[in-house]
Amino acid sequence: MDYQNSPYFHVSRASDLTGKDRLVYRLYEIIPGFLSWGTLIFIILMSAYSPRSAAYFIIAFNLYWLLKTVYLSIHLRHNWRRIQYNISLDWRDMLKNIKHDHLLHMVILPYYNESAEIVERSVRTLLDAHTDPKKIIVVLAAEERAGKKALLIGESVIEKYGTYFAHTILTCHPDGMRGEIAGKGSNISYAAEHARIRILDKHNIKYQDVVVSAFDIDTVVYPDYFNCLTWHFFTTPDPLSVSFQPVPVYNNNIWEAPALSRVVAISGTFWQMIQQERPEKLATFSSHAVSFQTLHRIGYWQRNVVSEDSRIFWNLFVASNGHHSVVPLSYPVSMDANVASTFTQTVKNIYKQHRRWGWGVENVPYLLFSFQKNRAIPRLKAFRLAFAQTEGFWSLATNPLIIFLLGWLPLALGGHEFNTTILSYNLPIVASSLMLLAMVGLVFSSIISLTLLPKMPVGFKKRHRVYMVTQWLLVPFTMSIFSAIPGLDAQTRLLLGKYMGFWVTPKHYRNKN
C-alpha cells in the first residue's frame, strides 16, 4: 500500500479527518490520557475501598520498579561503554577502506529569535569536526516571523563562514502558511525543499548521496560525528531505510546550569542511552539524521505537528510498511541545558520543555490509526511498537507518581481497620526499602554523568564537582515534577482535545569573558 499518498499520512489531529475516521482517531487520542488517569484514580479508589489490595499492588509495583531500574541500568552501562569506545575510535581510520568521498552532509539549523552568538557557535563548531568542511552543506533556516534581525544574523554568519563549506544557504520560512503550525517541522521542511532546489538540483547532486542532519540551533557536534555517521551510513545494509540517532548530551552549558536543570538534562541523556540499546523500540528524537532521498520521498518532516523529530520516524515507518528503523550511533551531540536569566524562569522553561517532549504522545494515536489503516505493516511488529509506545508514555506519566507520592495512600485512606493490621505497618518499610535499593543506582548514575561531563571551566571551584554528585538526590523530585507531571499534562491536553502548539526553548547564553 502506498500509504504516504493516502489522506491519512500527514494527519496531526482528529479534526484533520472526517466521519468515522475522525471518531476513531479521537478515541486513539483519548487512550494515553485515559490509561494514565485511570491508573492514578484506580489506585486512589483502591486505597480507599480495598486498602489491602492497594498495599499488595504497591509492594508489587515497587519491586517491579526496582527490577526495571536494574534492567535499564544494564542497558545504560552498556551504552556508556559503547559511547566511550566510539569517542575513542579513530573514525577516519575506520573510513579508510570505505568509498565515501561522494557523500555530502547537509546540516539544517533552524532558528527563531536566538542570538547571533548561538547561531554562529553552531556553524563555527562544524569547522572543528574531523571532516572536510567541503563535504558539509549548511542550511540556516530562519523564520519570517522572527523579523529582519534573524535574517541579518543568518547573512552575517554565512558571510563569515560560508566559504569554508561546500554550500551554504539561508532560507526564510514564511509565516502563516496554510496547513502548517509555527514550529521546527514546518521550518526545516521548507528549508530542505529550498536546499534541494538551490543546491542539490542546481549542482546535480544525487539525493542518495546526501545525509541530512536535522539539528537544533544549539547543537554542537563532537569531532567525529560526521565520520561516525558516514561509517554507519555505508555499513548499514539499507541506509535509505534507516534514520540515525546520536545521543544528545547537554554539555554546552552544563557547568553554568542550576542543579535542577542538570539533573533533568542528564536524565534525558540517560534515557536516550538506554533506548540506544533497544533499537527496535527507538524512534528519532531531537537531533537526528536521515538520507535526503528518504526524506524527499515522503515530503520531509510533517509541518502540522509539534513533535516533528519523532513523527518523521513514524512517517517513514508507515510509508515503508514497517520497514524503516533507527540505527543508534552511540555517539554524542551536545546541546544546551535549560538555563534562563533567573532560577524561576529556568524552572518554568524546564517544565514547558518536558511538556513539549511529553507531547510526543501525539504520535500514539497517529501510529495506532496508521497501523489500523495500513494493513501491509506486519501485525506483530505493529502490535509490539504500539504497545511499547503506549506503555512508554503511560510509564512516564504514572510510575514516578505511584512510587513517590501514591505509595502512602492506603495508610491515609485505608481507615482504622486497615491501619491496625501488620500489613499497614510493613507497607512503608517494604516500599521504602525497595525504593532505597533502587536509589542505589543513583550512585552509578552519578559516576556515569561525571565521565560524560566536559572539562570544568576556569573559575569554577572544586566544590562544583561535588555538586555534580550530590545533585542526584534531586531525582525523586525531578522525576515527579519535571517528568511525570508534564507528561500527564500533555496527555491530558490530548485527551481533552486542547492541542499544543510549538514552544521554542529559549537559549540563554552567558557572556563568558
Binding site: 534492567y71 559503547r82 481507615g415 505497618y425
Partner: protein, 301 residues
C-alpha cells in the same frame, strides 16, 4: 562495539520476570506477618510503641529491647507470635510504665507509655511581686499584685459545670447528634470527653466508632463509653494531661494522680503531687495550676 544483543536482553528480561513472579508472593507474605519457623509458616503480629521522649529504655518480657533517641522515639516490634507480652519502659528520673499487651496474628497492638517525673517541679505563685518583679508574699507599698496570681485565682473561681451537652458523630453517617450529659469537670480532647458523675470518671468517644482509639476497644469490639476503673474517691478535679488524650489528671483531697485511659492491665497511675487540701486546674494553653490549701503552684511536668 555492538549493542546489547537481543538474546542477552531477553535473557535478562526473562530472569527478572521470573524473579519478580517468585518474589512478589514472598514479599506479600512477609508484609502480612507470615514467618517461617520450625512449625512451618506461622502468622505473626506486632507491637507499635510510641515513647514520650528520648532516653527511654524499652523492655519486652523484662528483657531490654532498645532505647529511644532524638531520631527514633517509636518502635515497631514485629514477627511476634500471638501471645501476651509485658512491655515496660523506664527512664532515669521518671516513673516507669508497664503494660501487658496481647498480640494477635496479622494485627499490630499499640502502646503509648507515659512516664512523668519522679519529682515534678512546682513553682509557688506569690500574691505580690516587688518593683524588680521578684515574687513575695508580703504586701507593702513597694510591692504590687502579681497578675499571674490573680489569673490563677480566677481559674479556680470558675464555676464547675454540672451538666453539659456534647456533640457526637453517629457511627453510620457523618451527621452530628447532641447528647445531654450530667456531671462535672467536663473536658474534651481530640474527640475524647471525660467527666465525673456519681464519683465515677467517665470517658466518651465523640467520633466515628470505627476510628475510636484503641483503649475504647477490646479485640474487635469498640464501645463508645466506659467508666475508668479507679478506687479513688472524693475527686476534686479532673482534666487531660496536656498533650495527651489518653492520660487524665485527677485529684483527691490530698493527692494528684495521672491515670491512663488504656484499660489493658495494669492500668498505670502515677502520683505527681501530695499535699494538704489539693485542687488543680488546666488552662487552655495546657498550663497546670495546683492549689494546696491557700498556696497556688505552677506545675511543670
Amino acid at each position: 562495539m555492538k549493542p546489547l544483543s537481543r538474546k542477552k536482553r531477553l535473557t535478562y528480561l526473562i530472569s527478572f520476570t521470573l524473579f519478580f513472579v517468585a518474589s512478589v508472593p514472598a514479599l506479600i507474605f512477609y508484609a502480612n506477618g507470615y514467618e517461617f519457623s520450625d512449625l512451618g509458616l506461622i502468622k505473626t503480629g506486632g507491637i507499635y510503641i510510641t515513647t514520650p521522649s528520648s532516653g527511654t529504655h524499652v523492655y519486652i518480657n523484662n528483657k531490654f529491647y532498645d532505647e529511644s533517641s532524638m531520631f527514633q522515639k517509636t518502635f515497631f516490634i514485629k514477627n511476634l507470635r500471638p501471645n501476651t507480652y509485658t512491655i515496660s519502659t523506664k527512664q532515669e528520673g521518671h516513673q516507669s510504665w508497664t503494660k501487658m499487651i496481647a498480640v494477635t496474628e496479622k494485627q499490630v497492638s499499640t502502646a503509648y507509655p507515659f512516664m512523668l517525673p519522679l519529682k515534678p517541679i512546682h513553682t509557688l505563685i506569690t500574691p505580690f511581686v516587688d518593683i524588680s518583679g521578684t515574687p513575695t508574699t508580703t504586701r507593702s507599698s513597694l510591692y504590687k499584685t502579681n497578675e499571674e496570681y490573680t489569673y490563677a485565682l480566677s481559674i479556680f473561681a470558675e464555676q464547675i459545670a454540672t451538666s453539659t451537652t456534647i456533640k457526637i458523630l453517629r457511627q453510620t453517617n457523618a451527621s452530628t447528634t447532641s447528647i445531654q450529659i450530667n456531671g462535672k469537670f467536663f473536658s474534651t480532647q481530640n474527640k475524647v470527653s471525660i467527666w465525673i458523675a456519681d464519683d465515677k470518671v467517665h470517658a466518651y468517644w465523640n467520633g466515628q466508632l470505627d476510628s475510636a482509639p484503641s483503649y475504647f476497644c477490646t479485640k474487635t469490639i469498640c464501645v463508645r463509653e466506659f467508666i475508668i476503673a479507679t478506687e479513688l474517691k472524693q475527686i476534686t478535679a479532673l482534666g487531660f494531661l496536656p498533650g495527651r488524650d489518653d492520660v487524665i489528671l485527677l485529684s483527691t483531697k490530698q493527692k494528684i494522680y495521672a491515670i491512663e485511659l488504656d484499660r489493658r492491665m495494669p492500668q498505670n497511675s502515677q502520683l505527681i503531687y501530695s499535699g494538704t487540701i489539693v485542687d488543680f486546674r488546666i488552662n487552655e494553653r495546657g498550663n497546670i495550676y495546683v492549689r494546696d490549701s491557700k498556696k497556688i503552684f505552677f506545675m511543670e511536668i
